[in-house]
Symmetry: C2
Subunit: 318 residues, 2 copies
Amino acid sequence: MMNQYALGIDIGGTSIEYGIVNKKGDVIKSKDFPTKKFPTPESLVNEIYNDLININEFSSIIGIGIGAPNGNYFTGHIEYAPNLSWKGIVPLKQLFEAKFGIPTLLTNDANAAAMGEMVFGNAKDLKDFVTITLGTGVGSGVVVNGHLVYGHDGFAGEYGHIRVIPNGRKCGCQRLGCLETYCSSTGVVRSIQELDSENKPFSALSSLENPSAKDVFELAEEGDLFAEEIVEYTAQILGSSLADYACFSSPKAYVLFGGIAQHKGDFAHRVKKHLEENILIVYKNKIDIRISSLHDKNAAVLGTAAHVFWDLLQLKIN
Amino acid sequence: MMNQYALGIDIGGTSIEYGIVNKKGDVIKSKDFPTKKFPTPESLVNEIYNDLININEFSSIIGIGIGAPNGNYFTGHIEYAPNLSWKGIVPLKQLFEAKFGIPTLLTNDANAAAMGEMVFGNAKDLKDFVTITLGTGVGSGVVVNGHLVYGHDGFAGEYGHIRVIPNGRKCGCQRLGCLETYCSSTGVVRSIQELDSENKPFSALSSLENPSAKDVFELAEEGDLFAEEIVEYTAQILGSSLADYACFSSPKAYVLFGGIAQHKGDFAHRVKKHLEENILIVYKNKIDIRISSLHDKNAAVLGTAAHVFWDLLQLKIN
């Protein structure tokens, strides 16, 4: 059979990347742009179209996959994304389909990450799992019996906005105590300020001007006791929360994605320990904590391309 | 087409009921027994078989549906059910299939309740909803895109064991603060003891010897202030919790089942109010709180029969 390709597009607040991906997960052409280059969604569609119209593979692109914040699979719209300059409701799927004339699938970035994990990554053997993206926020992509869970309105899988600490930290969503306020990279930075410890005055974190989550995880590995306490605190809240969330879909694994998860320290082991300590007995010793194998610059593009292959070709799990 | 029937069987700690159900949801023959009548699962299978072998409809029974505590759809086993005298792993599906020679589906009672709601009850118009059963415990049946969520091991949908109050009430599962410890009928009874109020000394609840959840709800309607406070407290915890759980599957509705939900007072309205006050903005004003329309003595049998029609005939939503 002729080679088939998917065009994967990742839209973020800072940059937009596209890639042409084959069914083995090879990215054969990719490019990225600063998001602010595109005052309108139409200008993005035109730029990518003009980039690709003359390449040999163009006629073998079977579909376009888009991952975007607040992307809705059912409508194909980006709806009121706080971090994009395109305001209101943006019918991005429809714009791409009109220009390219091929099926286009849009979903949010965490759902795309889950598809990438199932088709190309660390969940190839699974039909029931949840991808947790630990970035500026906390996102999730929930897969049940091989299908993404969209919910009645396309907005299912907001595990980052389940409140885990009553009257806890103020969240960008205006509510208090959401998981995201503790376990995102910004949540880790807040922990530097908000946690108290006798080790705090002696920590290198106290002398850094704007310490990042990365600083915390690196210093923890170097033996900084306060940094280690923050890592432990983050893992404890995440593990305990994921234990409760198992009561929803009883997944075989949580696949952690993002800088925090990738850190070569023992974060995933700590999360697993707290998960096991807090979980209902029927789920005990059943659930893996896995780390994404797609954590590199093409992960988002692979995820959106995977979505195309999965939905359009009913590509089966190996 | 010839009439087709399902044999629905509901297995509870106190009683076991079966019913022959047609596709319209009419129960044309039913019977119940005390659970303790059956020292072995085989004796139950034989009793029902002998009851039915000579009725006209026998050859038109297309399948058997069983709802049971700790029932596992994938294995067909009841696994370590704490309230049954049959101990360990009971391969009930296999026993029925061997005797009757027709396909048998086993699941837990809350999942069966959700199927009943979708096929015969108050969720006929829905493909994404969650049934919450408020009984001795709190159970849940989660439907996503028209399918029950079983999870990788068959034990998905344990919303009653998500911890909603940190270090809260001790639960039968040995953990603390599970939803079930507040919003089940036994949880309501615990609230009589554990809540404090200036109205408490004047409440009729203080003079009853063993007040029940039913007493609480009835007295609340009669204007007993402490009883009303308990109803409000129960609704507040349930509504606030269901708000967070929307982040899992973004359901169009929660369908409440059981005595508490059925009470003719304003419990469902109170739950809805607290849900809206606590929910993430993207879900606001989208989710119904509905009350089961199957709350009568045949609800469990209808649910298990619905499961048969749904799975075996791919009966579509009206």
